[in-house]
Symmetry: C2
Subunit: 365 residues, 2 copies
C-alpha cells in the first residue's frame, strides 16, 4: 500500500504545483494591515500582558508579517481603563482588556470576565464557546461598536492579603480593603469599605496603614509586589474572581474590513492566547506559592460563615440589578441556568477526582 | 485626538497599500498543499472526531483554501489503532489520535494522553505547554518520525457501567471489565479481569453477560451507546482517565516541507482544537448526565478503599516500569515532580472554590 501511495502522491504533487500557480495568478493579493492594540495591563503583569503578545506574534507568523498588530502596554498610548473607549472612538483598532473594568458603564460588562461566585475557568470557556455566552456578550457589545474575543484567563484567584485574620462576617466590619468592581460591592454589603487603588500604590498604602488589606491576582503576581511583608494573612479562594477571562475588543468596522483569512487567523490566535495564558499561570503559580510559604505567609481559607454570606449577598445584587437593568437580566437568566447545570456535572467526576488526588498521596515507595 | 488620528491613518493607508503591492511582488507565492489526516475515532464519537475537523476547517480558512487537510474517520483509509504507523510509514501526512493507544509499543506513549491518577485537564495543559511536557514527549516521538501537537481533551471521564455495585477491593475480584491500556493493568492488580472490546461490541457483550462492566467516556458519549439499559451502576470518577488529551501526529519530513506560515496556522489551529473540544464536552455532558439520572441510572462514587488501592497500584506500576524502561523513567521523574507541585496549588484556590460553589447553592429568593 505504501508503494502505491507514493506513486499516487508523486502524481498529485505535480497537479498541485500547477494548481498553485493558477491559484496565485487568480487570487487577489492579501493587503498589508497594521493595527494597534492597547493593553489594559502593565508589562509587570507579564503573563496577562503577554496574552496580547501571544496573539500578535501568532497572527504575524501566520500571515508572513503582512498582518501586524503592535501591542502597547497600559498608559503608553491609552490609559488602562480607557481601552474600551479607545476602540469605540477609533483611537486604536483593538485592545486587550478585562471587561469588568467597565462595570461603571454597565454591570453587564462583568459577564465577559467573571462574576463573584460565578464560573471557574473551564466553565467560563464552556459557557462562552458553546453555552451561548459569546453571542450574548457580543450582542451587548454592539452598542459600543466592537466585537469581543476571549483571550486569556487566570483561573481562581486568591482572596488577598489581610493585616489581621478575619474569621466571621463581624470581623469584616469597617475593614478598608483594596478591591474594585462587583467584588467590592458584595464585600461592602458585609461591612467592608472597598478602596480602589492602582497596582503600584497598593504596597505603600498597606505599609502606611491607609488600608487594612488588598487583593491582586494570585501567588505569581502577588509575590512580586511584596504584600507578604506588610499583610501576612493570605486568604483563599478569591470568590470574586473564580476565573478572570480577558478579552480582545476589535472595532466592528475594522473587523469588517479584514480579509476572511486574517479574521480566521485572529480568531485562532485569540483561542490560543486563551488556553496559553491559563497554562502559563498554572505553571508559574505553584512555585510562587511554595516560595511565599517559606517566607512565613499564613494561608487561610475563608470561613464558611463568610463564604455563605458573600454568596448570598452576590446573588441579592444580581437579582436587584436584573430588576432594573434589562441588558443585565438578559444575560443573567441563561447564565444562572448554565451555572446550575454545569455545577451538577463538575461536582461528579471533576471535583471528586481532583479532591481525592490533591489530598491523598500515593503510598511512599 | 480622534481627528488627528484619522488623518494619520488615511496617510498610512496609502503607504501600506503601496507596501502591500511591493510585498506581493517580492514574496514567494505560497504553495497549495493537500494532506490527509486519519482519525482514530469514528464519526459517532462526534466531539472527539470533531477535533480534527476543527483543525482542518481553521487551517483552510486561514490559508484561503490553499492548505487543505482532509479528515478520514477510523477505518476509512486506516484502522483506528493504525494511525501512528500510518504517519510513520508515510501512508498519511498526519493523524488525530490518543497516544495511549500505543502503550503496547511502549508505555511511554501514555504521558501524552493521561496516566491513571495523573493530571486533570488544566494540569495536563500546564505540563505540556509550560512544564516541559511537550519537549519530553516530542523527544520520545522522534524515534517514530513524527512531531505531536495537543488537540483536544475530555476532562475527567466517568468510572464506567457496572452490573453490580462494587464497594470494596474484594468486590472487584474476578469482574470482567472492558477497559484497555494502563487503567486495565492497574485494575488487574486489584483482581479485575480486563477485556479489550471495540466500542460497537460493548453493548451486546454486556447484554449477553460476556462482561460484567465497561468504561467508555462520559455522560454524553455513554448515553448514546445505551449501557444504562444493561448495567445501571454508573461510577465516578474515571481515575484511569483524569484527562484524556488527544494529539495530532505530523510526519517530521512533511512538517519540515511546510512554509513557516502554514506551520504557524497548524499550531494555532491545534491549540484552538484543544480548548474547543474541552468546552464542547463541558457543554454537552451536563444535560446527558441529567437525562441519564431521569432514566434511573444509579450514580456511585468509588469508595476510598478502591481509590487508595488503585492509586497505590498505579504508582507501583510506574516505579516498576521506570526501573526497566529508560524512556518511561526520563519522563516519569519530572512528571511526578510537576504533579506534586501543581496539586499543592490547585488544592488551595481551585479546589476550595469549586467544592464550595458546587455544593452550596445561594439562598433561594
Amino acid at each position: 500500500m505504501a508503494l502505491n501511495r507514493r506513486d499516487f502522491m508523486a502524481g498529485a504533487g505535480i497537479i498541485s504545483a500547477a494548481a498553485a500557480t493558477q491559484a496565485v495568478a487568480q487570487a487577489p493579493a492579501l493587503p498589508s494591515v497594521r493595527w494597534r492594540c492597547t493593553s489594559s495591563f502593565p508589562k509587570s503583569l507579564d503573563t496577562i500582558y503577554g496574552g496580547a503578545e501571544t496573539l500578535s506574534k501568532r497572527v504575524s507568523a501566520i500571515t508572513g508579517g503582512k498582518f501586524q498588530i503592535q501591542v502597547f502596554s497600559a498608559g503608553e498610548i491609552v490609559p488602562a481603563f480607557g481601552a474600551a473607549d479607545a476602540v469605540q472612538n477609533g483611537t486604536v483598532e483593538c485592545c486587550h482588556t478585562a471587561s469588568y473594568y467597565f462595570v461603571g458603564k454597565n454591570k453587564t460588562f462583568a459577564f465577559d470576565t467573571t462574576l463573584p461566585f460565578g464560573l471557574n475557568q473551564r466553565q467560563q470557556n464552556a459557557w462562552i464557546y458553546y453555552g451561548g455566552g459569546l453571542a450574548l456578550v457580543r450582542d451587548f457589545f454592539k452598542e459600543y461598536g466592537f466585537v469581543s474575543f476571549p483571550g486569556g484567563n487566570t483561573g481562581v484567584q486568591m482572596g488577598g492579603w489581610w493585616k489581621k485574620e478575619v474569621k466571621t462576617v463581624a470581623d469584616l466590619k469597617g475593614i478598608k480593603f483594596r478591591i474594585a468592581g462587583l467584588g467590592g460591592e458584595v464585600l461592602s454589603r458585609l461591612g467592608v469599605v472597598p478602596q480602589q487603588i492602582a497596582g503600584g500604590d497598593i504596597f505603600p498604602s498597606l505599609e502606611r496603614g491607609v488600608i487594612d488589606g488588598a487583593e491582586w491576582v494570585g501567588p505569581y503576581d502577588d509575590e512580586k509586589l511584596g504584600f507578604y511583608k506588610v499583610a501576612p494573612h493570605y486568604y483563599y479562594p478569591g470568590w470574586w474572581e473564580s476565573n478572570s477571562m480577558y478579552s480582545f475588543y476589535v472595532a466592528q468596522k475594522e473587523w469588517d474590513k479584514l480579509p476572511k483569512e486574517y479574521q480566521a487567523a485572529f480568531e485562532a490566535a485569540a483561542a490560543e492566547a486563551n488556553i496559553d495564558m491559563m497554562a502559563e499561570y498554572d505553571f508559574k503559580n505553584p512555585a510562587a506559592l511554595r516560595s511565599l510559604i517559606t517566607k512565613g505567609v499564613k494561608l487561610h481559607a475563608f470561613s464558611n460563615d463568610i463564604m455563605k454570606a458573600a454568596q448570598d449577598a452576590a446573588f441579592d445584587l444580581y437579582e436587584e440589578e436584573s430588576a432594573k437593568n434589562a441588558s443585565f437580566k438578559k444575560i443573567y437568566e441563561p447564565w444562572k441556568k448554565f451555572r446550575d447545570e454545569i455545577y451538577l456535572w463538575h461536582r461528579v467526576a471533576e471535583q471528586t477526582y481532583s479532591t481525592f488526588v490533591q489530598t491523598n498521596a500515593p503510598k511512599k515507595k
